[in-house]
């Protein structure tokens, strides 16, 4: 749907790599261009009209993001993306709170950005990083969460939806049982916020991280949501202009309030404006409609590919727009190269969840990740190209 809104689709291209990044609608590009061409000034700095206009646009964007995920406006920190957000949550908040022997629970299907910051903290502070066992479908079950929790558990850090198999985690239930035990919950929302309704008050998560570029916004900007009382205790890692009230000497440095104190230096103003416009765009389509469209397309693919015996979908049961599959006797990367010859963009590999490969049984998969502009006819094209194994082998090099 809405294909005419996306300039990238003017090309002869079928784009199935929306888990990596998404195309931008014209309105997002124009909103950013307008900043660069009509009121290109810094925020929070100038005493003149166009700078004031930037201030208003920037802070309105924060309000828009807050409304979008049902947060309070002081709980929204702009970052460079979900990775940056997660690193700040780990290093700014948990590094000071956790002690050697405290435990963080993740899973084997987390993205690198929800694994490596914890690994790093484990090396530095001696915290433990342990895993919630995944069931046979690679899903997180409440039972397995309960089984994994120990008296040492202080944090559960999970993707809302994983980027590998696209399973949606029961975050609300996890938050409830975690909080009953005094455990914090961090949600990596990179793959969930663009595709499903996210309400941080309803979920009751402590932190949430997501990126603009995976939701039709620009690259280089993202969001760190944290409950206000937690952000008040989060350490400021990056200091400089824009985040301080005043300073006279080493003992007299006064920082701005939360969240501005976490935004040192000139921010990605055009990016923030673009993100806000992307949210407007998502809401004009309706996030439930987006979700419905993706799951419908996924079902359509699964139904069509059923008769192709050499293709195996490994995540049929997940209700999201992510399809992971293997092709008998053909290495995933070769499938991707083959499809590229027909201008079809898919992702091969372990999708930044490198520790999962031991758990999944198949080392590498081809991933198709859908979004609003994908169509049934694109799926038809994909299925017809996958149907002939000899052709794949003949043309993969």
């Amino acid at each position: 749907m809405n294909r005419e809104d996306f300039p990238m689709l003017d090309q002869d291209i079928i784009y199935f790599d929306n888990g990596a990044t998404t195309f931008k609608p014209k309105c997002v590009i124009e909103a950013m261009n307008e900043y660069y061409t009509k009121y290109s000034a810094n925020a929070h700095r100038g005493d003149y009209d166009i700078s004031y206009k930037v201030d208003v646009a920037y802070e309105n964007a924060r309000k828009n993001v807050a409304r979008f995920i049902n947060a309070d406006v002081e709980e929204i920190v702009f970052t460079s993306g979900a990775t940056d957000s997660l690193n700040r949550i780990v290093n700014g908040f948990f590094a000071n709170l956790l002690e050697a022997g405290d435990e963080v629970l993740i899973t084997l299907s987390e993205h690198a950005s929800n694994v490596l910051p914890w690994f790093n903290l484990a090396k530095k502070n001696g915290i433990l990083v342990n895993y919630i066992e995944l069931d046979t479908n690679l899903h997180v079950t409440i039972n397995n969460v309960l089984k994994a929790i120990s008296p040492r558990t202080k944090v559960i850090s999970l993707a809302g939806i994983t980027n590998v198999v696209g399973d949606e985690r029961p975050i609300k239930e996890i938050c409830k049982l975690a909080h009953e035990r005094g455990i914090f919950v961090v949600v990596d929302g990179a793959q969930s916020v663009p595709h499903t309704k996210t309400d941080v008050k309803d979920l009751d998560c402590d932190f949430l991280a997501f990126s603009a570029h995976k939701m039709m916004g620009p690259t280089g900007v993202g969001v760190l949501y944290g409950k206000k009382e937690l952000l008040l205790n989060m350490e400021v890692i990056s200091l400089g202009g824009g985040m301080n009230e005043s300073f006279d000497n080493i003992d007299e440095v006064y920082l701005k309030e939360v969240p501005q104190r976490f935004e040192a230096g000139t921010q990605n103003i055009a990016g923030v404006i673009g993100l806000s416009k992307a949210i407007d765009y998502i809401e004009s389509v309706g996030i439930d409609n987006i979700n419905l469209h993706e799951t419908k397309l996924k079902k359509y693919f699964i139904e069509k590919i059923k008769d192709v015996k050499h293709v195996h979908v490994i995540n049929s049961e997940c209700d999201s727009g992510i399809i992971a599959f293997t092709v008998d006797d053909v290495f995933a990367q070769d499938v991707a190269y083959y499809l590229n010859k027909y201008h079809i963009c898919v992702r091969a590999g372990n999708h930044c969840a490198k520790i999962l490969k031991n758990a999944i049984g198949v080392k590498n998969t081809v991933r198709v990740s859908l979004y609003i502009y994908n169509t049934e006819s694109e799926i038809d094209r994909l299925v017809s190209l996958l149907a002939d194994k000899e052709k794949i082998i003949r043309e993969m090099i």
């Binding site: 290495f331 190269y337 590498n364």
Partner: protein, 150 residues
């Protein structure tokens, strides 16, 4: 060489890779080579005696191009002295980079002479070469240390 024959050679080396087994590699120099940008990941095992490459073996998971490039490289390098091997590798890389090169017993490796046209596949072809250079370097450093000791 026409493209059908090239494809046949690549696919043959992919389906029946040379020395893709690691039996009896105790004492070999082992190195890993993987592409950051994709999922190719191979281990190479190298045996050098008296400055001569006596054996190379490999295992791991890689695409058709990487696997066949590894298979062909191994066929070409066994029996060469270290100097000859490094000279071969330098010329092969020059070919991939569209620089001037000399066909130093490329044999089947000539199938990759047009890889430069597909930028995204160059790293597939060079994967085993990155690994073997690492292994040779390791051997030379170890050897230097031994020479100094003696």
């Amino acid at each position: 060489m026409d493209s059908d024959l090239k494809r046949e050679i690549i696919l043959d080396n992919y389906s029946h890779p040379f020395h893709k087994d690691t039996e009896g590699t105790d004492g070999y120099i082992k190195v890993n080579s993987n592409n950051e940008s994709c999922i190719d990941n191979i281990d190479l095992y190298l045996k050098i005696e008296d400055n001569i490459i006596k054996d190379i073996r490999f295992d791991g998971e890689a695409c058709a191009i990487s696997t066949s490039s590894t298979s062909i490289m191994i066929k070409n390098l066994i029996g060469k002295s270290i100097e000859e091997a490094l000279n071969y590798i330098a010329n092969f890389e020059a070919m991939l980079d569209e620089r001037e090169y000399e066909d130093t017993d490329f044999n089947e490796a000539i199938v990759f002479d047009e890889t430069y046209k597909q930028g995204n596949r160059k790293t597939c072809v060079t994967l085993p070469y990155v690994g073997i250079k690492k292994a040779i370097k390791e051997y030379l450093e170890e050897h230097k240390a031994i020479d100094k000791d003696s």
